[in-house]
């Protein structure tokens, strides 16, 4: 039992933080939200240079072959910085999904796509037929889509996209209209079922990790503001009402962290309870981020309610990501079901 990250993992996170502090300031995030694409191809290329995009790509295909435990701190940092690029969709979801596909039929696709992902020349996203809209669909070079339980690989040219803008200006969801054909088919429904289950778990943990970073940023901003802003002749952070709201928000966040990290470990370790762990991660992180958003806005007051203040960027991320891939209540229901089944024992 050793519940801590390896130095390498922390160093990789620190490296991404140095990068985002220069290349992904709030002004950069804002510029991305205002851009046509919603994110920056230049920054994507720079992320490839850093080795980020090949993180989950196997070594023989030009990547590192790392797991979710290596990714989770990076996703957290992506949330903290508001990184607009589809890191989760490409590196956290699509690549592992391709690797999960059974049989040598998928080898060709993997050999074709994954080396290009690692060098930043292919952006991927994933979508389910139950989704109202698929995030990052417009910028993707390949879409991995589920239909009637089957998985398909669809080129952008074969899709018609109807943008469904999100309140989070970088997510760029779109309704994807497309026709499944034998050419697009990746896996039968039977083959796809376990792959889709793992996708759902990764999505829950990955979104949870983003939300940890979002909550962290919101709380840090509010604490800084409460220290600077004076009313009634004192910093507002000296009022118990402000202190206690922020303390409660921090407690929610700090207790969400190990829950998310454990779920990342469970993903890599084929833990039998991985789905429960993943749902706990999403539920906990969503509550932490929503609570942090509410508190951060209340601490800021009217200034936090303006377009020009950066707080909105992270509040909107919190609102959007908290419902993505199932909201907290959905996931708690899954957790309860799993706990009752575990308690009842196998059989």
């Amino acid at each position: 039992m050793r519940f801590a990250f390896e130095d390498r993992q922390v160093e990789f996170r620190d490296q991404l933080r140095s990068f985002t502090e220069k290349e992904c300031t709030a002004a950069e995030v804002r510029a991305a939200w205002d851009s046509e694409l919603g994110w920056s191809p230049d920054r994507w290329a720079a992320m490839a240079e850093l080795g980020l995009l090949g993180l989950t790509v196997p070594e023989d295909l030009g990547g590192f072959g790392f797991g979710f435990l290596d990714l989770v701190l990076l996703l957290e940092e992506a949330g903290r910085s508001g990184l607009p690029e589809p890191l989760l969709e490409t590196v956290g979801l699509a690549v592992p999904l391709l690797l999960d596909l059974p049989g040598p039929e998928a080898d060709g696709l993997r050999a074709e796509v994954l080396p290009r992902v690692a060098i930043g020349e292919s952006v991927l996203t994933v979508g389910l037929s139950s989704m109202v809209a698929v995030p990052a669909a417009a910028g993707a070079d390949l879409l991995l889509l589920e239909d009637a339980g089957e998985l398909h690989a669809v080129a952008p040219a074969e899709t018609r996209l109807i943008p469904r803008p999100s309140i989070d200006g970088a997510r760029r969801p779109a309704r994807v209209d497309w026709d499944p054909t034998p050419d697009t088919l990746l896996a039968s429904a039977a083959e796809s079922a376990p792959v889709l289950a793992r996708l759902a778990d990764r999505a829950a943990v990955g979104t949870g990790a983003l939300l940890l970073g979002v909550a962290d940023r919101l709380i840090a901003s509010a604490a800084a503001y409460a220290t600077d802003r004076h009313q009634f002749g004192v910093p507002i952070g000296s009022f118990q009402a402000v202190k206690h709201q922020l303390a409660d928000a921090l407690v929610r966040l700090e207790f969400a962290r190990p829950v998310v990290y454990r779920a990342a470990w469970s993903l890599d370790s084929a833990e039998p309870a991985v789905s429960r762990h993943a749902s706990m991660a999403k539920a906990y992180a969503a509550e932490a981020a929503l609570g942090a958003a509410r508190t951060a806005l209340q601490v800021h007051g009217a200034i936090g309610y303006t377009w020009e203040h950066d707080l909105q960027l992270w509040m909107k991320k919190a609102w959007a990501l908290s419902t993505a891939w199932g909201d907290a209540a959905d996931h708690r229901a899954r957790v309860l079901e799993a706990l009752l089944a575990e308690a009842a024992g196998p059989g």
Partner: protein
Amino acid sequence: MDLRFTPEQDAFRAEVRAWLEANVPSEAKGTGPLPSLDTAEGFAAHRVWEQAMFDARLSVVSWPEEFGGRGAGLLEWLIFEEEYYRAQAPTRVGQNGIFLLAPTIFEFGTPEQQARYLPAMASAREVWCQGWSEPDAGSDLAGIRSRATRKGPEGEGGSWVLSGQKTWASRGAFADWCFGLFRTDPTAERHRGMTYFLIPMDAPGVTVRPIAQLDGETGFAEIFFEDVEVPDDQVLGEVGKGWSVAMATTNSERGLSLRSPARFTEAAGRLLALYAEQALLDPVAAGRSADAVARAAMDAEAYQLNTYWTVTRVLGGTPVGPEASMNKLHWSETDLAIHRCALDLLGPEAELLDADGRPGPWLDGFLFALAGPIYAGTNEIQRNVVAERVLGLPRS
């Protein structure tokens, strides 16, 4: 106790309902919805709508007839509001004047001021904005720094020269007039030496900078005053007594007049409809929100009941007092709960904007509700007021 309305009240409700049904701009009639208040075109359209209400003597039913009202009671006002929200009629462009300034003019204004300002306000020929907060005086209104210096002789017939900066002025971008506090005695301590001014927004020296809100719309503005000259008859109440004059306004803002319960019962009604709709699509998922829906609907109804309770007391001659702070806490939390619950019911659709990039009604309402615990005195300030003035706890 009798919780039924009188036949006269029922008749009044029927009249209001019929008029609104015939006149509220709507898609069906080809007259609506009106463009956004945050555009020049929309602002003008909203003025036209208020003028129509004024002509029907429905704009300010509780005002005396001489100023365009009907001299109706508070209960009739509540009935009017219920019908107004039921009809999903346009947001009232004149509400800052009608709900926040008018009570002060009725209490402190001279007969000339009342005649000069009230009818124009009620018909939206003149739309008012509030010059209240300053960048360094948000929750701490007594920290106001904008100042007015005397020009000309003391007593009648002189004027004041205003300078400073106000912020978070709703409707500020297009308003005709502004009301606010300025410091006329810079040597006086925090709550003293302030005076209440009425300022035309086209006066030389007034500059407006619209501020975009969370939704990107310019719902409020900063107003800069550079040596703006204002004559004595645009002072409301006594010179130097602005704080107590303003507190009367603040009490109306926090108390009954601004937050009509109809706003929340109407939203709760829509929430119930949304729940019923989602429960047909996915009963298990919707069921997870059942308790929250019930709570939100109950909270809205409790606010309505509490308003009738308070209105009966006020009609009996008891003023609202610090209980207004309890109302503020309750309605602002209720509004958030209703909208949070609706977003939860919408699930993955909650984050999506309309095709034109604007938040849909629930997301828009949520963003609006988020401001509730902040404006008109933060909820933290309100809790202090309740604890100190209702429960008698010692001041910090």
